[in-house]
Symmetry: C2
Subunit: 265 residues, 2 copies
């Protein structure tokens, strides 16, 4: 027997040494997940001390603290009023028909406190714009979850614990909303550029084809076919993207750099 942290089928190793390309930190992954959706599951404590799971919508304050708006007509609202300890799990909002456990999610745990400040209400309303305005309902209160523990899971074998401090100061990836479109576009229209990147910058000069599997502010994850088997090189941008529309310029620069390094490809 082995445990599920064991390696999958071996990947073809780079033929050429390449510097490791930067990736989002676990804190950035966590903040990016929170920024990408407004639905989560909340765990609270029932009156017998047992756990209670429920569905909530949420907004996010600047420092990453989730904002909830819950009713005392619901068990989770009564639970929070009695014991403020709470945990929120936020999962990547991808429905690709694949294994949900291969996708990202993050658990935040801490203590909730009532706060009806304008920044709190505004964060909730901005995120949950489709919802009724709860301010007129006496049974609803706004709560902020002060985050004490963060556990990010990126999929099988990718996971990390994040400190509350790192979580608070990390930025959501600004290009995340555009990444799926960019990946599809690169694969449909720029297979030659991806191949040049895998050959010249990814350490696989013998690659015969390459596809992009993910794009983020720091670079691209590629999947390359080589005579030695499949490889998963990572290629980094010259500069992290700072804005939602930054992927086009960054991948353009990467393409020029790859072609300059290996003009024949």
């Amino acid at each position: 027997m082995s445990d599920h942290g064991s390696s999958p089928a071996p990947a073809a190793q780079p033929l050429v040494d390449v510097a490791p390309a930067p990736r989002r930190s676990a804190a950035e992954e966590a903040r990016t997940l929170l920024a990408a959706t407004t639905v989560a599951s909340l765990a609270t404590l029932s009156d017998d001390g047992g756990p209670w799971a429920s569905l909530v919508t949420f907004g996010v304050l600047t420092g990453g603290a989730p904002v909830l708006c819950v009713s005392t007509m619901a068990e989770h609202g009564r639970n929070l009023a009695r014991d403020p300890r709470a945990s929120l799990v936020v999962a990547a909002d991808v429905d690709d028909g694949g294994d949900p456990l291969a996708r990202g999610r993050v658990t935040l745990a801490g203590a909730a406190r009532r706060d009806a400040g304008e920044d709190v209400r505004s964060a909730y309303r901005q995120a949950v714009s489709y919802a009724p305005v709860y301010d007129d309902f006496a049974d609803f209160s706004y709560w902020v979850l002060d985050v004490q523990r963060v556990r990010w899971v990126g999929g099988y074998g990718r996971m990390d614990t994040v400190t509350a401090e790192d979580y608070a100061v990390a930025e959501p990836d600004p290009v995340a909303p555009a990444a799926a479109f960019a990946v599809a576009h690169l694969n449909e229209d720029h297979a030659d550029a991806l191949l040049a990147m895998a050959r010249a910058l990814g350490g696989h000069p013998d690659a015969t084809a390459a596809r992009c599997t993910r794009a983020d502010r720091y670079g691209l994850d590629l999947e390359a076919d080589t005579p030695r088997g499949r490889a998963w090189p990572r290629v980094g941008f010259a500069q992290p993207c700072g804005a939602p529309d930054g992927l086009r310029a960054a991948t353009g620069e990467l393409t020029r750099r790859a072609r300059a390094a290996a003009p024949a490809s």
Copy 2:
């Protein structure tokens, strides 16, 4: 101030008395939600007694008990091993861009127990067929959640508590997987039949148009336009559908009954 259980805008009332049409019970709603997806959020107790929310995949035993397969490498696995109290929230797997809190979800709470029986493994594998087979991994165990409390929420103002006994014996609605397709088909191709139903069977003989908003084994929810405002009549099938393909025959019978009752419509 009011609370959010208050009535929405008033609906046009029936002009003709109609017998109430049957609906799925809250227990049936709960079982139907469990049958429709394989992803849920789990609440467990961390070592400090605080709640911990996490993402899980699940299968369902015949009596409705969820089956989990969790790793002791994950906090929820260690939590269950220390304290078996657990709660699972299962939400309707609909992404229509609307308010997630307007959709159905159910919370189950109870105690988890390790069980690697063949029925347990088989229920999990059947549901989570895309996942790796965990039997070969030493850190994974199968757990059955013995359900003690059930709280179903169908959306704003629709909610109920279900006894463990009612939950265990209720059936998932067999037509649920086909319902969205049937609703779309009725609205696209059979608006005249829906109008006849609203007029002759729904108590709104002055209706000018009708759409189907939901189909289940017991009948159809309609939305009808009348000179007196909008109405939401429910029309019941002669017999509950007993099989996944039962909606076609049931709606056909309903159409014939409506037209026989009001031949002019």
